[in-house]
Assembly symmetry: C2
Homo-oligomer: 358 residues x 2
């Protein structure tokens, strides 16, 4: 007997990148920060008492909201803490998109969006990016005429690392009748010279919802902590109606608060990642694995036909180096490689060099 709803029965689940606990593996497949979390996080963890866990956590993670509001110079009511950024995506869809309403995304993009749309019974509209992975020139028109209830854009884009600027997003939000959800999981790695700042838009745009994550920028993928920034009227139904009442645990609340209160430390890791990204990009380009200029902590490169992306992925894996291969349209000839430490990046480049020579 099968009890699944028809849409669940026919859908395919999201497939996370390989996670491994083995040592000696160079793991460049799921975009973790190569540097440790802030010492303040380690100190907070060390001082935690198990007795704190006997009671329920503050349902709204008040201390974190306060710290995040301060960090972004917004009101606490503009912050919703979530169990990873993925929870915010799910909550937003649950709250705002009725079954049979439309969600518009670009193609390619984060492959969880179609999965969450299927779960909700929504209709997915995928707009293909141009050949160079930039937005189609008529995207704004496509969006406004789509009748979509929500548009989700990951910025910097995954899996290419391309950045849309603040003005472009403001224009989209202005003309769009639905909610523009900007998934900024990788925003911490954007070069400050771009002066990217979407948070400033939430004051004037009542339809912008921003996703932030501590997984990459704050070296806390294992903690599952993300948050949304947005106008109060968008956050309130998620905070008080659709969210599981105790969605983040006590440990995560304490550590996440310590992390963003010591954001200066994380900033220093972002600088290092940006420098390493540049070296990695050059190294790949020099070997003929052409890259897309990336503002994230990963690089998408094209693999020569002679070896094939899948072949290179497998060859690297045999050498205990994990990178991400997407078996999907337009990405079959590419690899997405997380920016690791300098040692890891050098080992990767050397391994690629030896594999494409043979």
């Amino acid at each position: 007997m099968n009890f699944e709803r028809p849409n669940i029965k026919t859908m395919k689940g999201y497939k996370p990148g390989e996670q491994t606990e083995g040592s000696g593996i160079i793991k460049l497949n799921t975009n973790e920060n190569p540097y440790p979390a802030s010492p303040a996080v380690a100190a907070t963890l060390k001082n935690l008492d198990a007795e704190n866990l006997r009671r329920y956590p503050p349902p709204l993670a008040d201390s974190f909201r306060e710290a995040a509001a301060k960090l972004h110079n917004v009101n606490e009511n503009n912050i919703i803490p979530t169990n990873g950024g993925d929870e915010l995506l799910r909550l937003a869809i649950t709250t705002f998109v009725d079954p049979n309403e439309k969600i518009l995304v670009t193609q390619p993009s984060y492959s969880l969006y179609p999965v969450l749309t299927s779960i909700q019974g929504g209709i997915l509209i995928q707009i293909p990016l141009q050949q160079d992975w930039s937005m189609p020139s008529d995207f704004e028109v496509s969006l406004t005429s789509s009748g979509a209830k929500m548009c989700i854009l990951v910025n910097p884009h995954a899996p290419t690392g391309k950045l849309l600027d603040t003005d472009y997003l403001a224009r989209l939000a202005d003309s769009f009748q639905g909610i523009l959800l900007i998934d900024e999981a990788y925003v911490d790695f954007v070069d400050p010279d771009f002066q990217y700042n979407s948070v400033s838009l939430i004051e004037s745009n009542e339809n912008i919802l921003i996703l932030r994550s501590l997984s990459k920028g704050y070296s806390l993928a294992g903690l599952r902590f993300g948050y949304g920034i947005g106008p109060q009227h968008l956050l309130e139904p998620m905070l008080y109606k659709t969210r599981d009442s105790y969605n983040t645990n006590t440990v995560a609340q304490h550590l996440a608060t310590a992390a963003i209160e010591s954001a200066d430390y994380a900033h220093s890791t972002w600088d290092r990642v940006r420098k390493s990204r540049s070296v990695l990009t050059d190294g790949l380009n020099q070997m003929g694995l052409n890259t897309v200029p990336s503002q994230a902590n990963f690089v998408l490169c094209q693999v020569p036909n002679s070896i094939s992306a899948k072949g290179l992925y497998e060859g690297l894996k045999r050498q205990n180096i994990l990178v991400r291969y997407f078996d999907q349209d337009r990405l079959k000839d590419r690899l997405r490689i997380s920016v690791g430490s300098d040692t890891e990046n050098t080992a990767l480049l050397e391994a690629i060099h030896s594999l494409i020579k043979t």
Copy 2:
């Protein structure tokens, strides 16, 4: 502009019991265990390294699944770890109940069920319990003829603490065409003499899904860890399709595993709670606050009209003692009181005594 789905716009959210971080408060309102978690949990927490948090957690919490499977003598495929028991409820509804399908619960019951039903756009059927809070004699008939896709029973029942026996649940599952979700958040406090054992039913009943929680029995409400036990065909779509891919964090996985691997320690706290429950029950009865015989770690008592339940709740609160008052049909003359430590229970009884005298 309001973007909420119509069902979200009109619904009311779940209101969790007051959480307080102040000291000197006797907190008997949200059913936490009065005794600390196992020393193994504290030791595991002490040994955790923040560096473990840099990477994503094992998506399926493999170590926990293994430990839970061993504890319940089932296969790992019969276990789904969740971010609190509440997540299992949400996942089950998301996965199996289409909008406009029916969910049947008793009235009263855990007030989150109606909230989750509203979010999914399902139809709620509430079957009133009898005057003595037992199941109506025709419940089985009502259930089978309801056309419900899912029936959720909390057992022991909240907020009364009454226990349904294993045979009764087996009969219900046999005749019911939908999924019988047995919410066993409080099952650890059941007297072993009852030989209650619903887990044995999942081998022969393909429509039983059991919810377990570490919040009460294992003194870990702050950790947000629960799990489901059920036949593989019910768990798989939740594990691989509808669940957020990294739904439990690394810290929670480690601590939850330590907790159930040292379940003997938790058992000792359950014994103490059962003994205290008996003393608390007697004390309340002696003052004329008639109780329902409870197999949970709380007691529902009726408050004489002379003072009123709400009045007593407020009077206790002024003395820094928190209990739970439900402003809803059939419960307005009652208080639900968590079983605390012996000191806390004595203080509560003395406070009630002084309040009902005046």
